[in-house]
């Protein structure tokens, strides 16, 4: 089996947590490559948590929803916990009307709270929300 071609999506490791994010320009093939790569990285890096930032996505359709749901399930089977962070309000409203609830996918308001849930603490002294706003 060939090693998966790297997808265009960066995956960073912070301790035992992998941090990544989805972009609007991700096409279907890249999304599937990203799934392959992320699961490989969970195993290779021994990750216990994965943060997927979706704050750049201005829409989540049923394909992206399925990708996220499958990723969360695959990661769980590999012993890692996935948190999807930073969904835009308009995207959340539309997803619910579309009939998709991302069942089984843990979420957080933003990347900072997602990292906190995965066991990362905020550096003392930094004010709440700064690091999150820098992403927008």
């Amino acid at each position: 089996m060939n090693a998966p071609r790297p997808s265009a999506v960066p995956i960073l490791r912070l301790g035992d947590v992998l941090v990544t994010g989805l972009l609007n320009e991700l096409d279907d093939t890249s999304a599937l490559m990203f799934t392959d790569e992320l699961t490989e990285r969970i195993v290779a890096d021994g990750a216990r948590g994965v943060l997927i930032d979706v704050s750049r996505l201005d829409l989540i359709d049923s394909f992206v929803a399925r990708t996220l749901t499958e990723l969360a399930t695959m990661a769980r089977l590999l012993g890692a916990r996935v948190i999807v962070a930073g969904m835009r309000p308009a995207v959340a409203i539309t997803l619910v009307e579309l009939g998709l609830q991302l069942r089984g996918v843990e979420t957080a308001l933003n990347a900072e709270q997602g990292m906190h849930a995965l066991g990362w603490q905020q550096a003392p002294g930094s004010s709440r929300g700064d690091s999150y706003d820098a992403l927008r």
Partner: protein
């Protein structure tokens, strides 16, 4: 199911010329047609639909609803219909504006439309929310499908409604 003149939808399938549905004033030159023949096209049509919703004056949540519906319909045409096209029209009708999406393919058609509009029903790799979900996101929704010939979905969302 059929929300306006049925002949219109049929005509739309036969002729690709300018469409003049009864009772709607379409601003001239406001319709654009985009190919839906590749994954890249799926991304391109999203941008085009987004621009049309901005032009029609939709707020952010409505923009998101319409672009998401367009994404579902375009994906259906690409995956199930073997490729097709998406026509976007900005509609003006008195004080209200709207966006009409017409998604056509020449694929196998949908044998059981009621079932296809039911959540959770899918023949492909999706979640089975595409068609029914897209219908919920739009105000008017019409499916004209002929087995062996193809499917045309026409959907409108109005502003100020």
């Amino acid at each position: 199911m059929t929300l306006y003149d049925e002949g219109y939808a049929r005509g739309a399938q036969q002729a690709d010329g300018p469409l003049r549905p009864v009772g709607l004033d379409v601003a001239p030159g406001a319709a654009t047609t985009h190919a839906v023949m590749s994954e890249q096209d799926l991304l391109t049509v999203r941008h085009a639909v987004r621009s049309a919703t901005v032009e029609a004056g939709f707020a952010l949540v409505d923009q998101t609803r319409i672009v998401t519906a367009a994404s579902e319909l375009a994906r259906n045409a690409y995956v199930h219909g073997g490729g097709g096209s998406l026509t976007i029209e900005v509609l003006g009708h008195g004080a209200r504006a709207g966006v009409r999406l017409i998604v056509r393919d020449n694929g196998p058609g949908i044998p059981d439309l009621e079932k296809a509009l039911t959540d959770g029903w899918t023949t492909g790799a999706g979640l089975g929310h595409g068609l029914g979900g897209a219908r919920r996101l739009m105000h008017e929704f019409d499916v004209d499908t002929v087995v062996g010939q193809g499917t045309t979905v026409t959907a409108i969302r109005w502003n100020n409604r």
